[in-house]
Amino acid sequence: MTISSVFAAVRGSPERVSLPRGRRRTELLMLGFAVVVVLFAYANVGLGLNGKLPAGLVTYGLTFAVIVFAAHLAVRRLAPWADPLILPLAALLNGLGLVMIYRLQESGRDGNPGHPVTLMTTHTTAYQVIWSAAGVAAFVAVLAVIREPRILQRYTYTLGALGLVLLAIPAVIGTSINGAKVWLSIGGFSIQPGEFAKLALAVFFAGYLVAKRDVLSLAGRRVLGIDLPRARDLGPVLVVWAASLLILVFETDIGQSALFFGLFVAMIYIATQRTSWLLIGMILFLFGSYVASKLFGHVGQRITDWLHPFAGTNAANSAYQLVQGLEGMGFGGILGTGLGHGQPYFVPLVQSDFIITAFGEELGLTGLMAMLLIFGLIVQRGLRAAIAVRDPFAKLLAGGLSFVLALQVFIIVGGVTRLIPLTGITTPFLSQGGSSLVASWALIALLMRVSDTARRPAPQPIQDEGMTQVVRAG
């Protein structure tokens, strides 16, 4: 409900004043629905694998319900006007991710229970539940600390620096897992600082671009019909971008590079509304990809695998993981094998980058389309909040975060389904691993904060006998 319609309602019929509603009850209802779906899916895994209800149905189920219900209570207190759809959608994805990780843990390597899939243990699900709790805690903390989006604007450069440091840490003291050096081991836990760097840099880009957007879009020379900004305005942004790219190339994580680059281009486009930026971005990206594919063997290999994954044209079988994922999805077909009835464990590291193929195999095309639509809905709600909010910083932040979520889903899902060359990044909310989950929840919190700001009714003037105006603070 927009502010003008509130006034219209007040003016039109003073007796039936309808206050804007936060729709928290809708959120609770949807959340309940999400929990039920997840519980059914969880029960299905047990029935599919052993013909019995899984042992942890009550404990895992209750824990999950309590976690998301806690998130709901926090929203009631901290962001009562926020979009009611975002939290249930995120909770549903998180829950389905837990279910699939439990399913992969139970079936084990090559379908042998007791022999965990590589990089999984028999406690993986328990850890993932703990990480979910940590994610929701982060969600609540972000909502509690950042009561207004503009608070973040004060820390533009601090967060920019923090983002760069987070990106740089693994390159210096990190551990390399499966080719990408993006991990940081702390007391047995592996953390991907890059996941958080994404958020910090989004805030930095938003703050910086808001301050400079007039200069960026107006000043400068026109060359060949394209408005070029002045070098000094562009300098800091280019430095951050180049630094992040360099670090990521150094850490050999192409997926994250593409993600940061896309975030950067999208935000500068939102800020300046200039198509030239998209053009420049595209050219830079294509050039960068070409150079990378020539310079780094593994990038070129990824492109070869994308074009020729199958045995007939790929004698070295270098696209084994990709082919296994595709065969799994093909085997699932339209309706899927049903949870617990497929063999997703044939895909190496299925619980991480390739988890979407496990969903494709067991829930089928139908289930996978539904899950992509859930991601799409979250993105749509985020963009909606960005359009509705008035504060340009919040607008830019929400727009950038929504886009980066969409881009992340596009890169990883497109990669594993052979739409684009495969670059390993996590699937938000679904993949095994804490960093991605916590960062995703923090991202959701930021979107809901912006949404809350956008939907919060303006302070209403109260007419007091036509004489005095009292303004009630909202």
Binding site: G111, P113, Q273, G328, G338, F346, M369, F375, F403
Partner: protein, 497 residues
């Protein structure tokens, strides 16, 4: 900034649209070619993720019977493994089902057993929607467990006595063509083929393949031997059918040695005399004079004899039960001298043990040969019959009159004191009237090999319920090596002590 945000929203929409189109392509359109990818582990494993249908020997009581192949859940996994409770006994029937392929009924009825047959599609879809595990259909065979076990044990005992000579036996219900027993020895243990380890499987398979006794050869239907004197049934049938005035009592020329048109002499076995040299046909039949039937073979002509053999089922390479049965051979023989040899089951004559059973079955069924078959019915997991056998006539080799006459002659083989099988298949031994014909076929280059022992028979003589064909390779006299095996099968099937 809202205009840029709206455009960005469209970009997001486009990204999701591309993803959706792509997964539609992968999962709905590309799935077929993905399934055909070499080394697709899921397609490979699919066959072990559900319960394959059982194979049941239901010849002893229709609708019930003995499970001779079933899939059992491997403890602690969701994988099913094939199990053959009787190991070697039914191996020539069931064949095996392994990760690399199948043989026997396992191969011939694979679509039913695997549940992939079109007729099971609706049931599988309902099962998918109701979450029931996918099951294959059960295949009920005409095999009598009692007859099959008796056949296997008799062949095994005979083989042990003969230093491991191979042998095979087939029993048929003459009135329907239902195969009651199909045994071959030595044979393999199908349980050895159910391993999930490709390495082990290849090793076991190689071992079997290189064994000299050829355990993987299903001799009952895929090996041929000279029929010897049992072919005299065909020669008699040709001669008796040629003219209504001929009967078993008609005298035939049967000198101790028959001078063939090419000047060679055809002798009776061991130079025996045949009656007074001009005996009734029936005597020549039960004592099995070679000269009498060699002469008849010359007299009836090449075409008639060849045609009669065709009608009995020889020279037919299209017979399936549903496994393909190797063709038994009787080539057209225009040279009368050679035809004399072919008329007594020598020269180029080659028959399967199945063909031997078909000889007796034709006579037992009044001259009509029923098409042999193994599958009685196929039962879907919901107990619906999706296929039932309906017995059909394959051919009418002889008239009921001639069949009855040949029947009388076969009766004398076991009942007349001079009959070739009077000692081994008489009613006192068998406990039932058996009508049969022995064969002792010379073998090898210049007949240097051991004689093959052949016996074809049916019982009870007055009301035939079972026809049996037995061949013991290198077994010597048909009456000594083959007939006792047939007697044991008949006794087991008819429930005689």
């Amino acid at each position: 900034m809202n205009r840029a945000l709206l455009r960005l929203s469209l970009a997001c929409l486009a990204m999701f649209a591309l993803l959706l189109i792509n997964i539609n392509y992968v999962q709905a359109f590309e799935s077929t070619s993905l399934a055909a990818e070499p080394g697709n582990a899921r397609i490979f494993n699919q066959q072990f993720q559900y319960q394959r249908g059982s194979i049941v020997a239901s010849g002893d009581h229709t609708g019930g019977g003995v499970k001779i192949a079933e899939s059992r859940l491997v403890k602690g996994t969701s994988t099913y493994r094939r199990y053959y409770p009787f190991a070697q006994v039914f191996a020539p029937v069931t064949g095996y089902d392994s990760i690399y392929g199948a043989t026997g009924i396992e191969a011939a009825q694979n679509k039913d057993l695997a549940g992939t047959d079109q007729r099971l599609a609706v049931h599988n879809l309902v099962g998918l929607l109701t979450g029931k595990p996918k099951l294959g259909a059960s295949v009920y065979l005409t095999i009598s467990a009692k007859a099959q076990q008796a056949a296997y044990q008799a062949l095994q005992a005979q083989s042990r006595q003969d230093n491991g000579l191979p042998a095979a036996a087939v029993a048929i219900d003459p009135s329907t063509g239902a195969i009651l027993a199909l045994a071959s020895y030595p044979t393999f243990n199908p349980n050895a083929y159910t391993t999930f380890s490709g390495k082990k499987l290849v090793k076991i398979d190689n071992q079997y393949r290189h064994e000299k006794s050829q355990p993987l050869l299903n001799r009952a239907i895929n090996a041929t031997y000279p029929p010897g004197s049992s072919f005299k049934i065909v020669t008699s049938a040709t001669w008796l059918s040629g003219n209504a005035s001929r009967s078993p009592q008609s005298p035939v020329l049967a000198p101790p040695a028959l001078k063939l048109p090419n000047g060679n002499l055809l002798h009776n076995d061991a130079g025996e005399v045949c009656g007074n040299g001009n005996p009734q046909l029936i005597l020549a039949f039960y004592v099995s004079c070679n000269t009498a039937f060699g002469n008849l073979g010359i007299k009836v002509g090449a075409a008639a004899l060849h045609h009669q053999a065709d009608l009995f089922g020889l020279n037919n390479s299209n017979l399936t039960i549903p496994m393909p049965v190797s063709a038994s051979r009787y080539p057209l023989e225009p040279d009368p001298s050679l035809r004399a040899l072919s008329a007594i089951g020598q020269l180029d004559d080659q028959v399967t043990p199945m063909q031997e059973a078909m000889f007796a079955a034709t006579i037992a069924n009044g001259g009509t040969l029923m098409t042999p078959y193994l599958v009685q019915n196929v039962q879907a997991p919901d107990l619906r019959n999706i296929q039932s056998a309906s017995p059909t006539a394959l051919s009418r080799p002889v008239s009921p009159q001639v069949a009855s006459e040949i029947g009388q002659m076969m009766f004398q083989v076991t009942h007349n004191p001079g009959g070739t099988a009077a000692a081994t298949a008489n009613p006192q031994v068998a406990g039932v009237d058996i009508s049969g014909k022995t064969g002792t076929a010379e073998n090898g280059v210049n007949n240097a090999g051991l004689n093959d022992a052949v016996f074809t028979c049916f019982a009870p003589s007055s009301n035939p319920k079972i026809a049996v064909g037995v061949i013991v390779q290198g077994g010597g006299f048909g009456a000594d090596a083959a007939a006792p095996i047939a007697v044991k099968i008949i006794k087991a099937y008819l429930g005689l002590p």
